[in-house]
């Protein structure tokens, strides 16, 4: 059973949004259904994604039934990135129980700063005893390990930010649109935790996203240009202390699974564009290697040779990625939507002749868990 993306919607990404959580979700759910050309009655199952900690209430999907259109429907929630909601929705369609699924994801970071709670992701016995350990300092340690192992310097990280933030200038909903940013400005922005400066860290913000998925027969019937999900790979690594932080092993395994399912043998040649979640600048370079776009340790070369620019051989994050705006749970789903837009030819930074696209979402401290989707223009 094949599954296709037939509609999507992204809300504006902003800090301190005027709309409430429910309104934002209602807006994206409604416009995603409109975009797909279906109504709420056609939808069989609804999956939402958000985290209770950031919503400030437990079982937070209960309050969202109205907004997400799940009233009296088969509904469930993923306490993870929105792309996992899309994964569960796709699996429900593949099981043959439903024909059309709606996946929504949202986070209002303004309600509660996500960096404030990153400490509670740590294990309580040892790591949480130390006040200085949190999501950002651990990412800085990871960056330091990676940079030392492969001779990467701060300039390379800044290059990643420059590429992504300049790309984001054209994207209407992005939070950080900096079309004339320079490497110097990135390095001179406020130092959060050496070597990571403010602009190298994805800015948490308010936002939501929704996608409509459909099974093979329905998608072909009601949609003119469905985007097909050709490969899925998912992998979760050990807790950060017991693994090699300088390498994204779980992403490598997830990518390999997805490539095998989609029949991709040479990722660099066969994939036209990649949309990846880089919460911190160094993670984009690490992802190049884990996704087999280059050999281990050579991620730096791709950015230096401008291969991952929109006009390059292997465009990565033409939408600006997570660095342009990070509505925690919706970030991965926005990557999926941007990848689908590239295949449909609707993207702002359109890559010419795009037929196969990759979308990636991460979850956990130092990208512990990774999910990869391969999208294509034919089933």
């Amino acid at each position: 059973m094949k599954v296709a993306v037939i509609g999507y919607a992204v809300s504006n990404l902003e800090w301190d949004a005027e709309k409430t959580r429910e309104e934002t979700v209602f807006e994206v759910a409604k416009s995603a259904l409109e975009n797909a050309g279906v109504s709420r009655e056609d939808v069989g199952t609804v999956i939402s994604a958000s985290t209770d900690f950031l919503d400030g209430r437990t079982i937070s999907n209960c309050m969202l039934i109205g907004g997400s259109g799940a009233y009296l429907k088969d509904e469930s929630k993923a306490e993870e990135d929105g792309m996992y909601a899309a994964l569960y929705a796709a699996q429900r369609l593949m099981a043959g129980v439903h024909d059309i699924a709606l996946a929504v994801s949202h986070t209002h970071s303004w309600i509660f700063n996500p960096h404030q709670v990153s400490q509670y992701m740590l294990e309580p016995w040892f790591d949480r005893q130390n006040d200085l350990i949190n999501g950002i300092t651990l990412a800085a340690l990871q960056a330091r390990m990676y940079m030392e192992k492969h001779g990467v310097d701060e300039l390379d990280l800044a290059e990643v930010c420059v590429k992504n933030l300049r790309n984001a200038a054209k994207v209407p909903y992005a939070l950080r649109k900096l079309h004339d940013i320079t490497v110097e400005e990135i390095l001179e922005s406020e130092m959060f935790s050496d070597p990571l400066t403010e602009l190298m860290i994805a800015p948490p913000c308010d936002g939501a996203a929704a996608v409509v998925l459909a099974s093979e027969n329905v998608a072909e019937e009601i949609c003119e240009n469905p985007v097909w999900i050709k490969g899925i790979g998912n992998s979760c690594d050990n807790y950060l202390r017991d693994r090699d932080l300088a390498k994204l092993n779980s992403l490598e395994i997830a990518a390999r699974k997805a490539y095998r399912m989609a029949g991709i043998e040479e990722p660099f040649r066969e994939i036209d564009v990649a949309e990846i979640t880089e919460r911190f600048a160094h993670q984009e370079l690490m992802a190049y290697e884990a996704l087999s776009f280059c050999r281990e340790g050579k991620g730096r070369v791709l950015i230096e040779e401008e291969m991952t620019e929109v006009y390059g051989d292997m465009p990565v994050n033409p939408s600006g990625g997570a660095l342009a705006g990070d509505p925690i749970c919706a970030t991965g789903m926005i990557r999926l939507i941007e990848a689908a837009k590239q295949i449909r030819g609707e993207a702002e930074n359109q890559v010419d002749g795009c037929r196969t696209a990759l979308a990636h979402a991460q979850w956990g401290l130092c990208a512990q868990k990774n999910l990869v989707f391969i999208l294509g223009d034919e089933p």
Binding site: E18, N130, M145, E148, N238
Partner: protein
């Protein structure tokens, strides 16, 4: 509960807190207590997985790779290697609590000082610990440098006995 401000026409803000009280985290027997008790004798204990021979410090009760329970315990070296480090912003009193005590008040870190956090892998182990790196200047720290454990003057068998690590050798970089 109160209304905070009227910034927008369409939405208003309601203040709220989530006071869920204290949690009681459970640790398996012989996991945290034995690890910490051995601090009295200035010993670091890890667990040894009989499936793969990996040693975990701090102890782990389950080996994720072998999917089995770990029962063996071994003493590990006091010497280790710096895998990664970072330099914090200047410290403020009452802001940094490490292992239950205020580092500034306890006197082993000075106010206004910068603290170096190091990810340390003790010799022969497969996991790492994040500890403060003491008696070193930020510009002298290198990845892969050898460090040794620093103990409190009087060890009481508490997590705060292991104050941090310091460079094991007096190496001068030029």
């Amino acid at each position: 509960m109160g209304l905070i401000k009227e910034k927008y026409e369409k939405t208003m803000q309601v203040e709220g807190e989530w006071n869920i009280g204290a949690y009681r985290y459970k640790a398996p027997e012989g996991y945290l207590d034995e690890f910490v008790k051995n601090f009295r004798d200035r010993k670091i204990i890890g667990t040894l997985c009989t499936g793969c021979g990996r040693v975990y410090v701090p102890p782990r009760e389950i080996c994720a790779r072998c999917f089995q329970k770990i029962t063996e315990k071994v003493e590990v070296s006091q010497y280790g290697e710096v895998l990664a480090f970072l330099v914090s912003p200047p410290l403020e009193k009452g802001k940094v609590v490490i292992a239950g005590i205020d580092a500034v008040q306890a006197g082993f870190l000075k106010e206004g000082e910068q603290i170096i956090l190091a990810m340390v892998r003790f010799e022969g182990t497969s996991s790492s610990m994040v500890l403060p790196l003491l008696n070193a200047k930020p510009e002298d720290v290198r990845l892969g440098m050898r460090v040794k454990a620093v103990w409190a003057e009087e060890c009481k068998g508490a997590l705060s006995d292991l104050v941090g690590v310091e460079p094991a050798f007096d190496v001068r970089f030029k």
